[in-house]
Protein backbone atom coordinates (compact mmCIF):
# COMPACT_ATOMS: atom_id res chain seq x y z
CA UNK A 1 0.00 0.00 0.00
CA UNK A 2 1.50 3.28 -1.06
CA UNK A 3 0.93 6.38 1.02
CA UNK A 4 1.13 10.12 0.70
CA UNK A 5 2.48 12.61 3.18
CA UNK A 6 0.84 15.96 3.81
CA UNK A 7 2.25 18.44 6.31
CA UNK A 8 4.06 15.68 8.15
CA UNK A 9 1.02 13.36 8.35
CA UNK A 10 1.01 10.15 6.36
CA UNK A 11 -2.23 9.51 4.48
CA UNK A 12 -2.76 5.85 3.64
CA UNK A 13 -3.86 5.01 0.13
CA UNK A 14 -7.01 3.32 1.33
CA UNK A 15 -10.70 3.98 1.55
CA UNK A 16 -13.56 4.16 4.00
CA UNK A 17 -16.29 1.67 3.23
CA UNK A 18 -19.77 2.86 4.12
CA UNK A 19 -23.27 1.49 3.86
CA UNK A 20 -26.56 2.66 2.49
CA UNK A 21 -28.90 3.57 5.31
CA UNK A 22 -32.18 5.28 5.96
CA UNK A 23 -32.09 8.64 7.66
CA UNK A 24 -34.50 11.19 9.01
CA UNK A 25 -34.19 14.66 10.47
CA UNK A 26 -36.14 16.38 13.22
CA UNK A 27 -36.24 19.92 14.49
CA UNK A 28 -36.61 20.17 18.24
CA UNK A 29 -37.46 23.58 19.67
CA UNK A 30 -37.92 24.91 23.17
CA UNK A 31 -38.27 28.23 24.97
CA UNK A 32 -34.50 28.60 25.24
CA UNK A 33 -31.52 27.22 23.30
CA UNK A 34 -30.48 25.44 26.49
CA UNK A 35 -33.67 23.41 26.73
CA UNK A 36 -33.78 22.64 23.02
CA UNK A 37 -30.25 21.28 23.37
CA UNK A 38 -31.08 19.27 26.49
CA UNK A 39 -33.98 17.59 24.74
CA UNK A 40 -31.88 16.94 21.62
CA UNK A 41 -29.01 15.50 23.61
CA UNK A 42 -31.22 13.17 25.61
CA UNK A 43 -33.16 12.14 22.51
CA UNK A 44 -29.98 11.25 20.61
CA UNK A 45 -28.35 9.57 23.59
CA UNK A 46 -27.47 5.89 23.41
CA UNK A 47 -27.50 6.21 19.65
CA UNK A 48 -23.93 5.37 18.72
CA UNK A 49 -24.20 2.23 16.67
CA UNK A 50 -27.15 0.70 14.91
CA UNK A 51 -25.96 -2.72 16.05
CA UNK A 52 -26.57 -2.19 19.73
CA UNK A 53 -28.65 0.97 19.94
CA UNK A 54 -31.19 0.41 17.19
CA UNK A 55 -30.34 3.72 15.55
CA UNK A 56 -27.41 6.06 15.11
CA UNK A 57 -28.38 9.50 16.28
CA UNK A 58 -26.75 12.85 16.69
CA UNK A 59 -27.09 16.58 16.57
CA UNK A 60 -26.61 18.16 13.17
CA UNK A 61 -26.68 21.80 14.23
CA UNK A 62 -28.33 24.48 16.31
CA UNK A 63 -31.06 26.51 14.62
CA UNK A 64 -31.80 30.18 15.11
CA UNK A 65 -35.40 31.20 15.86
CA UNK A 66 -35.84 32.34 12.26
CA UNK A 67 -35.17 28.79 11.04
CA UNK A 68 -37.83 26.99 13.09
CA UNK A 69 -41.59 26.69 12.47
CA UNK A 70 -42.45 28.30 15.81
CA UNK A 71 -39.83 31.03 15.88
CA UNK A 72 -38.09 29.61 18.93
CA UNK A 73 -34.51 28.38 19.20
CA UNK A 74 -34.05 24.84 18.01
CA UNK A 75 -31.74 21.97 17.30
CA UNK A 76 -31.74 19.71 14.27
CA UNK A 77 -31.14 16.06 15.06
CA UNK A 78 -30.57 13.22 12.62
CA UNK A 79 -31.38 9.53 13.06
CA UNK A 80 -30.08 6.69 10.94
CA UNK A 81 -31.18 3.07 10.77
CA UNK A 82 -31.13 0.09 8.46
CA UNK A 83 -34.53 0.90 6.99
CA UNK A 84 -37.47 3.25 7.53
CA UNK A 85 -39.27 0.39 9.28
CA UNK A 86 -36.34 -0.07 11.66
CA UNK A 87 -36.55 3.62 12.54
CA UNK A 88 -40.22 3.44 13.55
CA UNK A 89 -39.78 2.06 17.10
CA UNK A 90 -36.70 4.20 17.65
CA UNK A 91 -38.55 7.34 16.67
CA UNK A 92 -41.54 6.46 18.83
CA UNK A 93 -39.46 5.74 21.92
CA UNK A 94 -36.96 8.54 21.60
CA UNK A 95 -39.54 11.23 20.82
CA UNK A 96 -42.03 9.84 23.31
CA UNK A 97 -39.60 9.53 26.19
CA UNK A 98 -37.12 12.32 25.54
CA UNK A 99 -38.83 15.11 23.58
CA UNK A 100 -42.44 14.92 24.73
CA UNK A 101 -41.18 14.91 28.31
CA UNK A 102 -38.80 17.86 27.98
CA UNK A 103 -40.12 21.23 29.29
CA UNK A 104 -41.47 23.55 26.60
CA UNK A 105 -40.43 21.28 23.75
CA UNK A 106 -41.93 20.93 20.28
CA UNK A 107 -40.91 18.51 17.55
CA UNK A 108 -41.07 19.10 13.80
CA UNK A 109 -39.98 17.46 10.60
CA UNK A 110 -36.41 18.38 9.77
CA UNK A 111 -35.96 16.75 6.36
CA UNK A 112 -37.75 17.57 3.14
CA UNK A 113 -38.29 14.28 1.36
CA UNK A 114 -40.91 12.69 -0.84
CA UNK A 115 -41.07 9.67 1.42
CA UNK A 116 -42.56 10.32 4.83
CA UNK A 117 -43.07 8.41 8.00
CA UNK A 118 -45.34 9.00 10.95
CA UNK A 119 -43.85 11.22 13.61
CA UNK A 120 -46.89 11.88 15.78
CA UNK A 121 -48.38 8.43 15.18
CA UNK A 122 -47.66 7.36 18.74
CA UNK A 123 -46.94 10.48 20.79
CA UNK A 124 -50.20 12.21 19.96
CA UNK A 125 -52.20 9.55 21.78
CA UNK A 126 -50.61 10.74 25.00
CA UNK A 127 -53.34 13.38 24.73
CA UNK A 128 -55.94 10.75 25.74
CA UNK A 129 -58.48 12.19 23.32
CA UNK A 130 -57.73 15.84 24.04
CA UNK A 131 -55.17 16.04 21.24
CA UNK A 132 -56.16 18.17 18.27
CA UNK A 133 -54.52 18.76 14.92
CA UNK A 134 -54.02 21.97 12.99
CA UNK A 135 -53.22 21.61 9.32
CA UNK A 136 -51.47 24.65 7.90
CA UNK A 137 -50.67 24.41 4.21
CA UNK A 138 -49.29 20.93 3.71
CA UNK A 139 -48.10 20.46 7.28
CA UNK A 140 -50.23 19.02 10.07
CA UNK A 141 -49.33 19.82 13.64
CA UNK A 142 -50.68 17.86 16.59
CA UNK A 143 -51.28 19.67 19.84
CA UNK A 144 -51.09 17.44 22.89
CA UNK A 145 -52.11 18.98 26.22
CA UNK A 146 -49.34 18.56 28.80
CA UNK A 147 -48.68 20.05 32.20
CA UNK A 148 -46.72 23.07 30.93
CA UNK A 149 -49.08 23.85 28.06
CA UNK A 150 -49.16 21.99 24.79
CA UNK A 151 -46.65 19.65 23.17
CA UNK A 152 -46.69 20.38 19.45
CA UNK A 153 -45.54 17.59 17.17
CA UNK A 154 -45.71 17.47 13.40
CA UNK A 155 -47.73 14.62 11.94
CA UNK A 156 -45.09 13.24 9.60
CA UNK A 157 -41.38 13.56 9.01
CA UNK A 158 -39.33 13.01 5.88
CA UNK A 159 -37.19 9.91 5.59
CA UNK A 160 -34.56 9.15 2.98
CA UNK A 161 -33.16 5.82 1.90
CA UNK A 162 -30.23 7.59 0.22
CA UNK A 163 -28.42 8.10 3.53
CA UNK A 164 -24.96 6.75 4.19
CA UNK A 165 -23.64 5.31 7.43
CA UNK A 166 -20.10 4.47 8.32
CA UNK A 167 -17.91 7.05 6.63
CA UNK A 168 -14.80 7.08 8.76
CA UNK A 169 -11.29 8.28 9.46
CA UNK A 170 -8.77 6.33 11.54
CA UNK A 171 -6.25 8.65 13.12
CA UNK A 172 -3.01 7.23 14.45
CA UNK A 173 -0.73 9.06 16.85
CA UNK A 174 2.34 8.77 18.97
CA UNK A 175 0.89 10.93 21.76
CA UNK A 176 -2.43 10.07 23.33
CA UNK A 177 -3.37 13.56 24.58
CA UNK A 178 -2.33 15.28 21.36
CA UNK A 179 -4.14 12.68 19.25
CA UNK A 180 -7.35 13.26 21.20
CA UNK A 181 -7.03 17.03 20.81
CA UNK A 182 -6.44 16.79 17.07
CA UNK A 183 -9.33 14.35 16.65
CA UNK A 184 -11.62 16.63 18.66
CA UNK A 185 -10.69 19.48 16.32
CA UNK A 186 -11.54 17.28 13.33
CA UNK A 187 -14.93 16.43 14.88
CA UNK A 188 -15.55 20.16 15.38
CA UNK A 189 -14.75 20.79 11.72
CA UNK A 190 -17.09 17.99 10.67
CA UNK A 191 -19.84 19.46 12.87
CA UNK A 192 -19.87 22.50 10.59
CA UNK A 193 -20.85 20.31 7.63
CA UNK A 194 -24.63 20.11 7.23
CA UNK A 195 -26.58 16.85 7.08
CA UNK A 196 -24.00 14.75 8.95
CA UNK A 197 -23.52 13.48 12.46
CA UNK A 198 -20.69 11.76 14.30
CA UNK A 199 -22.75 9.46 16.50
CA UNK A 200 -20.12 8.17 18.94
CA UNK A 201 -19.26 9.82 22.28
CA UNK A 202 -18.01 13.28 21.47
CA UNK A 203 -17.85 12.12 17.87
CA UNK A 204 -14.95 9.75 18.55
CA UNK A 205 -14.68 5.95 18.78
CA UNK A 206 -11.76 4.30 20.49
CA UNK A 207 -13.02 0.77 19.98
CA UNK A 208 -13.06 0.26 16.25
CA UNK A 209 -14.37 -3.17 15.38
CA UNK A 210 -13.88 -5.87 12.82
CA UNK A 211 -16.60 -8.18 11.56
CA UNK A 212 -16.85 -11.47 13.45
CA UNK A 213 -15.30 -12.91 16.56
CA UNK A 214 -13.77 -16.10 17.84
CA UNK A 215 -16.78 -16.33 20.11
CA UNK A 216 -20.05 -17.64 18.80
CA UNK A 217 -22.81 -15.07 18.98
CA UNK A 218 -20.59 -11.99 18.83
CA UNK A 219 -21.02 -10.38 15.44
CA UNK A 220 -18.18 -7.91 15.89
CA UNK A 221 -15.03 -7.74 17.96
CA UNK A 222 -12.04 -5.51 18.51
CA UNK A 223 -10.13 -4.35 15.46
CA UNK A 224 -6.92 -6.04 16.58
CA UNK A 225 -4.97 -4.81 13.58
CA UNK A 226 -5.29 -1.26 14.95
CA UNK A 227 -4.72 -2.15 18.62
CA UNK A 228 -1.30 -0.75 19.54
CA UNK A 229 -0.85 -3.16 22.44
CA UNK A 230 -1.05 -6.08 20.02
CA UNK A 231 1.19 -4.70 17.32
CA UNK A 232 3.86 -7.33 17.82
CA UNK A 233 1.40 -10.17 18.24
CA UNK A 234 -0.96 -9.79 15.27
CA UNK A 235 -0.78 -8.71 11.65
CA UNK A 236 -0.83 -5.08 12.61
CA UNK A 237 -1.85 -1.92 10.81
CA UNK A 238 -0.17 0.22 13.46
CA UNK A 239 3.16 1.92 12.84
CA UNK A 240 6.01 1.11 15.19
CA UNK A 241 5.55 4.44 17.00
CA UNK A 242 1.75 4.21 17.27
CA UNK A 243 0.55 4.74 20.83
CA UNK A 244 -3.16 5.11 20.14
CA UNK A 245 -5.70 5.10 17.32
CA UNK A 246 -8.99 7.02 17.31
CA UNK A 247 -11.77 6.75 14.78
CA UNK A 248 -14.35 9.25 13.64
CA UNK A 249 -17.49 7.61 12.26
CA UNK A 250 -19.73 9.75 10.06
CA UNK A 251 -23.35 9.25 9.05
CA UNK A 252 -24.87 11.57 6.50
CA UNK A 253 -28.16 12.09 4.71
CA UNK A 254 -26.35 11.99 1.36
CA UNK A 255 -23.14 10.45 0.09
CA UNK A 256 -21.86 13.91 -0.77
CA UNK A 257 -22.34 15.15 2.78
CA UNK A 258 -20.31 12.21 4.11
CA UNK A 259 -17.53 12.92 1.62
CA UNK A 260 -17.59 16.62 2.56
CA UNK A 261 -17.40 15.72 6.24
CA UNK A 262 -14.46 13.37 5.71
CA UNK A 263 -12.76 16.07 3.66
CA UNK A 264 -13.27 18.62 6.44
CA UNK A 265 -11.93 16.22 9.08
CA UNK A 266 -8.95 15.25 6.98
CA UNK A 267 -8.10 18.89 6.32
CA UNK A 268 -8.06 19.70 10.03
CA UNK A 269 -5.90 16.70 10.88
CA UNK A 270 -3.42 17.64 8.18
CA UNK A 271 -3.36 21.26 9.34
CA UNK A 272 -2.79 20.68 13.05
CA UNK A 273 -2.06 16.97 13.42
CA UNK A 274 1.72 16.67 13.13
CA UNK A 275 2.35 19.18 15.91
CA UNK A 276 0.08 17.17 18.17
CA UNK A 277 1.70 13.85 17.46
CA UNK A 278 -0.59 12.56 14.74
CA UNK A 279 1.45 10.36 12.46
CA UNK A 280 -1.02 8.77 10.07
CA UNK A 281 -4.56 8.82 8.80
CA UNK A 282 -6.15 5.64 7.55
CA UNK A 283 -9.71 4.45 7.00
CA UNK A 284 -11.74 1.38 7.82
CA UNK A 285 -13.04 -0.97 5.18
CA UNK A 286 -13.99 -4.60 4.68
CA UNK A 287 -12.14 -5.13 1.45
CA UNK A 288 -14.74 -3.20 -0.50
CA UNK A 289 -17.26 -6.02 -0.80
CA UNK A 290 -19.73 -5.16 1.95
CA UNK A 291 -20.44 -1.46 1.62
CA UNK A 292 -21.86 0.32 -1.40
CA UNK A 293 -19.99 3.55 -0.74
CA UNK A 294 -16.21 3.86 -0.95
CA UNK A 295 -14.45 7.09 0.03
CA UNK A 296 -10.79 7.07 -1.00
CA UNK A 297 -8.66 9.28 1.19
CA UNK A 298 -6.56 10.38 -1.77
CA UNK A 299 -9.68 11.87 -3.39
CA UNK A 300 -10.50 13.83 -0.25
CA UNK A 301 -7.16 15.52 0.29
CA UNK A 302 -7.23 19.29 0.52
Amino acid sequence: MSAMTRNGVTIDDTFAEAFGMSGLGLVITADTPKWAMISAQVMTGFGTSVIGCGAECGIDRELSPSETPDGRPGVRVLMFGFSPDALVPQLLNRVGQCVLTSPGSACYNGLESKTKMGLASGPRFFGDGWQTAKKLGKRRFWRVPVMDGEFVIEDKCGVTTEAVGGGNLLILGRDRAGLLEATEAAVAAIAKVDDVITPFPGGIVRSGSKVGSKYKGAIASTNDAFCPTLKGAVKTECSPDTIAVLEIVIDGLTSKSVADAMRAGLKTIIEIGAAKGVTRVSAGNYGGKLGQHHYHLKDLLP
Partner: protein
Protein backbone atom coordinates in the same frame (compact mmCIF):
# COMPACT_ATOMS: atom_id res chain seq x y z
CA UNK B 1 -47.61 36.12 -18.57
CA UNK B 2 -50.62 36.61 -20.80
CA UNK B 3 -53.95 37.89 -19.56
CA UNK B 4 -57.37 37.16 -20.95
CA UNK B 5 -59.80 40.00 -20.23
CA UNK B 6 -63.57 39.84 -20.01
CA UNK B 7 -65.29 43.21 -19.99
CA UNK B 8 -68.95 43.21 -18.99
CA UNK B 9 -71.09 44.86 -21.68
CA UNK B 10 -74.14 45.44 -19.50
CA UNK B 11 -75.48 44.13 -16.24
CA UNK B 12 -76.89 40.61 -16.67
CA UNK B 13 -80.61 40.17 -16.11
CA UNK B 14 -80.32 36.73 -14.58
CA UNK B 15 -77.73 34.94 -12.49
CA UNK B 16 -74.85 33.75 -14.62
CA UNK B 17 -72.58 30.79 -13.91
CA UNK B 18 -68.98 31.83 -14.68
CA UNK B 19 -67.36 28.54 -13.64
CA UNK B 20 -66.31 27.95 -17.25
CA UNK B 21 -64.01 30.95 -17.16
CA UNK B 22 -60.92 29.54 -15.50
CA UNK B 23 -57.49 29.34 -17.18
CA UNK B 24 -57.33 25.55 -17.44
CA UNK B 25 -60.67 25.37 -19.28
CA UNK B 26 -59.78 28.17 -21.70
CA UNK B 27 -56.22 27.12 -22.57
CA UNK B 28 -55.73 26.84 -26.30
CA UNK B 29 -59.11 28.30 -27.26
CA UNK B 30 -59.44 31.23 -29.64
CA UNK B 31 -61.27 34.32 -28.41
CA UNK B 32 -64.00 33.50 -30.91
CA UNK B 33 -64.45 30.05 -29.42
CA UNK B 34 -64.45 31.49 -25.92
CA UNK B 35 -67.25 33.88 -26.89
CA UNK B 36 -69.36 30.85 -27.88
CA UNK B 37 -69.10 29.19 -24.46
CA UNK B 38 -72.50 28.84 -22.82
CA UNK B 39 -72.51 30.10 -19.26
CA UNK B 40 -74.53 27.72 -17.15
CA UNK B 41 -77.54 25.62 -18.02
CA UNK B 42 -81.05 26.29 -19.19
CA UNK B 43 -82.80 27.42 -22.31
CA UNK B 44 -81.91 31.03 -21.70
CA UNK B 45 -78.31 30.57 -20.59
CA UNK B 46 -76.24 33.29 -22.25
CA UNK B 47 -73.04 32.82 -24.19
CA UNK B 48 -69.86 34.60 -23.11
CA UNK B 49 -70.12 36.89 -26.11
CA UNK B 50 -73.61 38.00 -25.08
CA UNK B 51 -72.29 39.46 -21.85
CA UNK B 52 -68.61 40.20 -22.31
CA UNK B 53 -66.11 41.45 -24.82
CA UNK B 54 -63.14 39.16 -24.79
CA UNK B 55 -59.63 40.45 -25.37
CA UNK B 56 -56.07 39.31 -24.81
CA UNK B 57 -54.79 35.76 -25.00
CA UNK B 58 -55.54 32.80 -22.76
CA UNK B 59 -52.83 32.21 -20.19
CA UNK B 60 -52.42 32.09 -16.45
CA UNK B 61 -54.46 35.19 -15.74
CA UNK B 62 -58.06 36.12 -16.26
CA UNK B 63 -59.32 39.65 -15.60
CA UNK B 64 -63.04 40.35 -15.29
CA UNK B 65 -64.04 43.98 -15.52
CA UNK B 66 -67.45 45.10 -14.46
CA UNK B 67 -69.38 44.11 -11.42
CA UNK B 68 -72.68 42.47 -10.78
CA UNK B 69 -74.08 40.49 -7.87
CA UNK B 70 -75.50 38.17 -10.54
CA UNK B 71 -72.04 36.95 -11.57
CA UNK B 72 -72.04 33.62 -9.72
CA UNK B 73 -69.44 30.90 -9.49
CA UNK B 74 -66.52 33.18 -10.34
CA UNK B 75 -63.40 31.01 -10.26
CA UNK B 76 -65.34 27.93 -9.19
CA UNK B 77 -63.16 24.86 -9.64
CA UNK B 78 -60.05 26.99 -10.20
CA UNK B 79 -56.95 24.79 -10.11
CA UNK B 80 -54.17 27.18 -11.08
CA UNK B 81 -53.63 30.72 -12.24
CA UNK B 82 -55.17 33.99 -11.15
CA UNK B 83 -58.60 35.52 -11.61
CA UNK B 84 -59.05 39.18 -10.78
CA UNK B 85 -62.46 40.86 -10.68
CA UNK B 86 -62.81 44.61 -10.79
CA UNK B 87 -66.02 44.82 -8.84
CA UNK B 88 -68.57 42.80 -6.88
CA UNK B 89 -69.40 39.18 -7.55
CA UNK B 90 -72.37 37.01 -6.74
CA UNK B 91 -72.63 33.77 -4.85
CA UNK B 92 -70.41 30.68 -4.86
CA UNK B 93 -67.21 32.40 -5.99
CA UNK B 94 -64.25 30.03 -5.63
CA UNK B 95 -66.51 27.08 -4.92
CA UNK B 96 -64.54 23.84 -5.03
CA UNK B 97 -61.36 25.59 -6.06
CA UNK B 98 -58.18 23.54 -5.70
CA UNK B 99 -55.45 26.08 -6.21
CA UNK B 100 -54.56 29.42 -7.75
CA UNK B 101 -55.77 32.79 -6.62
CA UNK B 102 -58.95 34.84 -6.91
CA UNK B 103 -58.83 38.57 -6.17
CA UNK B 104 -62.17 40.34 -5.89
CA UNK B 105 -61.91 44.12 -5.66
CA UNK B 106 -65.50 44.53 -4.46
CA UNK B 107 -67.82 42.44 -2.33
CA UNK B 108 -68.52 38.73 -2.60
CA UNK B 109 -71.92 37.10 -2.13
CA UNK B 110 -72.77 34.02 -0.12
CA UNK B 111 -71.03 30.65 -0.08
CA UNK B 112 -67.65 32.11 -0.99
CA UNK B 113 -65.08 29.30 -1.33
CA UNK B 114 -67.49 26.61 -0.20
CA UNK B 115 -65.90 23.15 -0.52
CA UNK B 116 -62.62 24.68 -1.74
CA UNK B 117 -59.59 22.50 -1.08
CA UNK B 118 -56.76 24.91 -1.80
CA UNK B 119 -55.70 28.25 -3.20
CA UNK B 120 -56.25 31.79 -2.02
CA UNK B 121 -59.32 34.02 -2.26
CA UNK B 122 -58.78 37.68 -1.49
CA UNK B 123 -61.87 39.86 -1.17
CA UNK B 124 -61.13 43.55 -0.79
CA UNK B 125 -64.71 44.34 0.20
CA UNK B 126 -67.04 42.31 2.37
CA UNK B 127 -68.36 38.78 2.01
CA UNK B 128 -71.85 37.34 2.48
CA UNK B 129 -73.28 34.50 4.52
CA UNK B 130 -72.03 30.92 4.71
CA UNK B 131 -68.50 31.80 3.65
CA UNK B 132 -66.66 28.48 3.32
CA UNK B 133 -69.95 26.85 4.21
CA UNK B 134 -71.97 23.88 3.06
CA UNK B 135 -74.79 23.77 0.62
CA UNK B 136 -77.36 20.98 0.83
CA UNK B 137 -75.59 17.83 -0.27
CA UNK B 138 -72.13 18.96 0.74
CA UNK B 139 -70.54 16.96 3.50
CA UNK B 140 -68.18 19.74 4.52
CA UNK B 141 -67.66 23.42 3.83
CA UNK B 142 -64.16 24.77 3.31
CA UNK B 143 -61.66 21.92 3.05
CA UNK B 144 -58.40 23.80 2.56
CA UNK B 145 -56.85 26.94 1.24
CA UNK B 146 -57.13 30.44 2.57
CA UNK B 147 -59.74 33.19 2.31
CA UNK B 148 -58.81 36.76 3.21
CA UNK B 149 -61.61 39.32 3.50
CA UNK B 150 -60.80 42.94 4.21
CA UNK B 151 -64.33 43.90 5.17
CA UNK B 152 -66.97 42.13 7.25
CA UNK B 153 -68.35 38.63 6.78
CA UNK B 154 -71.99 37.57 7.00
CA UNK B 155 -73.49 34.93 9.24
CA UNK B 156 -72.48 31.30 9.73
CA UNK B 157 -69.05 31.59 8.14
CA UNK B 158 -67.20 28.29 8.20
CA UNK B 159 -70.37 26.22 8.45
CA UNK B 160 -69.12 22.60 8.66
CA UNK B 161 -65.69 23.79 7.59
CA UNK B 162 -63.04 21.11 7.92
CA UNK B 163 -59.65 22.68 7.12
CA UNK B 164 -58.11 25.87 5.83
CA UNK B 165 -58.22 29.40 7.12
CA UNK B 166 -60.50 32.41 6.87
CA UNK B 167 -59.01 35.75 7.84
CA UNK B 168 -60.87 39.03 8.06
CA UNK B 169 -59.86 42.53 9.02
CA UNK B 170 -63.52 43.14 9.83
CA UNK B 171 -66.00 41.16 11.91
CA UNK B 172 -67.60 37.80 11.53
CA UNK B 173 -71.39 37.87 11.63
CA UNK B 174 -73.58 35.76 13.91
CA UNK B 175 -72.86 32.08 14.49
CA UNK B 176 -69.45 32.00 12.81
CA UNK B 177 -67.93 28.53 12.89
CA UNK B 178 -71.24 26.80 13.28
CA UNK B 179 -70.90 23.00 13.23
CA UNK B 180 -67.27 23.51 12.23
CA UNK B 181 -65.10 20.38 12.19
CA UNK B 182 -61.65 21.96 11.85
CA UNK B 183 -59.71 24.85 10.45
CA UNK B 184 -59.23 28.41 11.59
CA UNK B 185 -61.38 31.56 11.56
CA UNK B 186 -59.34 34.65 12.41
CA UNK B 187 -60.70 38.17 12.83
CA UNK B 188 -58.95 41.35 13.78
CA UNK B 189 -62.23 43.05 14.75
CA UNK B 190 -64.17 40.38 16.65
CA UNK B 191 -66.99 37.88 16.41
CA UNK B 192 -70.67 38.70 16.25
CA UNK B 193 -73.13 36.99 18.56
CA UNK B 194 -72.95 33.31 19.51
CA UNK B 195 -69.98 32.02 17.53
CA UNK B 196 -69.30 28.31 17.33
CA UNK B 197 -72.71 26.64 17.76
CA UNK B 198 -71.99 22.88 17.76
CA UNK B 199 -68.34 23.60 17.04
CA UNK B 200 -66.61 20.20 17.15
CA UNK B 201 -62.99 21.09 16.48
CA UNK B 202 -61.28 24.11 15.00
CA UNK B 203 -60.04 27.46 16.15
CA UNK B 204 -61.79 30.83 16.24
CA UNK B 205 -59.36 33.68 16.87
CA UNK B 206 -60.39 37.24 17.58
CA UNK B 207 -60.23 40.08 20.08
CA UNK B 208 -63.83 39.81 21.27
CA UNK B 209 -67.14 37.98 21.12
CA UNK B 210 -70.40 39.94 21.12
CA UNK B 211 -72.31 37.24 22.97
CA UNK B 212 -70.91 33.93 24.10
CA UNK B 213 -72.85 30.68 23.98
CA UNK B 214 -73.29 29.20 27.45
CA UNK B 215 -71.79 25.94 26.23
CA UNK B 216 -68.25 27.33 26.01
CA UNK B 217 -65.97 26.73 29.00
CA UNK B 218 -63.42 29.32 30.11
CA UNK B 219 -59.96 27.72 30.23
CA UNK B 220 -58.28 30.97 31.26
CA UNK B 221 -55.16 32.53 29.85
CA UNK B 222 -52.75 30.22 28.03
CA UNK B 223 -49.61 30.59 25.91
CA UNK B 224 -49.49 27.53 23.61
CA UNK B 225 -46.78 27.14 20.99
CA UNK B 226 -49.39 26.86 18.23
CA UNK B 227 -49.90 30.65 18.47
CA UNK B 228 -46.36 31.16 17.26
CA UNK B 229 -46.77 28.59 14.50
CA UNK B 230 -49.97 30.26 13.29
CA UNK B 231 -48.40 33.73 13.33
CA UNK B 232 -45.37 32.54 11.42
CA UNK B 233 -47.45 30.56 8.94
CA UNK B 234 -49.70 33.48 7.99
CA UNK B 235 -46.75 35.87 7.78
CA UNK B 236 -44.95 33.51 5.42
CA UNK B 237 -47.89 32.54 3.24
CA UNK B 238 -49.94 35.75 3.18
CA UNK B 239 -47.28 38.45 3.43
CA UNK B 240 -48.98 41.83 3.52
CA UNK B 241 -52.40 40.17 3.75
CA UNK B 242 -51.50 38.42 7.01
CA UNK B 243 -53.29 39.42 10.19
CA UNK B 244 -51.23 40.89 12.98
CA UNK B 245 -49.07 38.36 14.84
CA UNK B 246 -50.83 36.82 17.82
CA UNK B 247 -49.96 38.00 21.31
CA UNK B 248 -47.99 35.57 23.50
CA UNK B 249 -51.03 34.97 25.71
CA UNK B 250 -54.66 34.39 24.78
CA UNK B 251 -57.79 33.43 26.71
CA UNK B 252 -59.14 30.07 25.66
CA UNK B 253 -62.82 29.21 25.61
CA UNK B 254 -63.34 25.51 24.95
CA UNK B 255 -66.43 24.29 23.17
CA UNK B 256 -68.96 23.75 21.94
CA UNK B 257 -69.62 21.46 24.88
CA UNK B 258 -73.08 20.73 23.50
CA UNK B 259 -71.08 18.42 21.21
CA UNK B 260 -67.57 16.94 21.54
CA UNK B 261 -66.26 20.38 22.45
CA UNK B 262 -62.71 20.10 21.17
CA UNK B 263 -62.91 23.44 19.43
CA UNK B 264 -61.70 26.68 20.88
CA UNK B 265 -62.27 30.40 20.79
CA UNK B 266 -59.00 32.21 21.44
CA UNK B 267 -59.50 35.75 22.63
CA UNK B 268 -56.53 37.93 21.79
CA UNK B 269 -57.52 41.01 23.76
Amino acid sequence: MSTLSFTLLSAPKQAVNLSALIPSKLAGLSNGAIEQIVLGDGAHAPRVGDLFTVSGTPGDEIAISGASPLLDYVGAGLDAGTITVEGNVGNHAGRGMKGGKIVIAGDAGSYLASTATGGLVHVKGSAGDFLGGTRPGDRFGLLGGTVVVEGNIGQRAGERMRRGMVVTRGKFGPAAGSRMVGGTLWTEAGFGPRPGPLLRRGTLIGPSVDELLPTFADCGRIDPVILRILSRYVAETLGALAPKALPPMVRKLAGDRATIGKGEILLTA
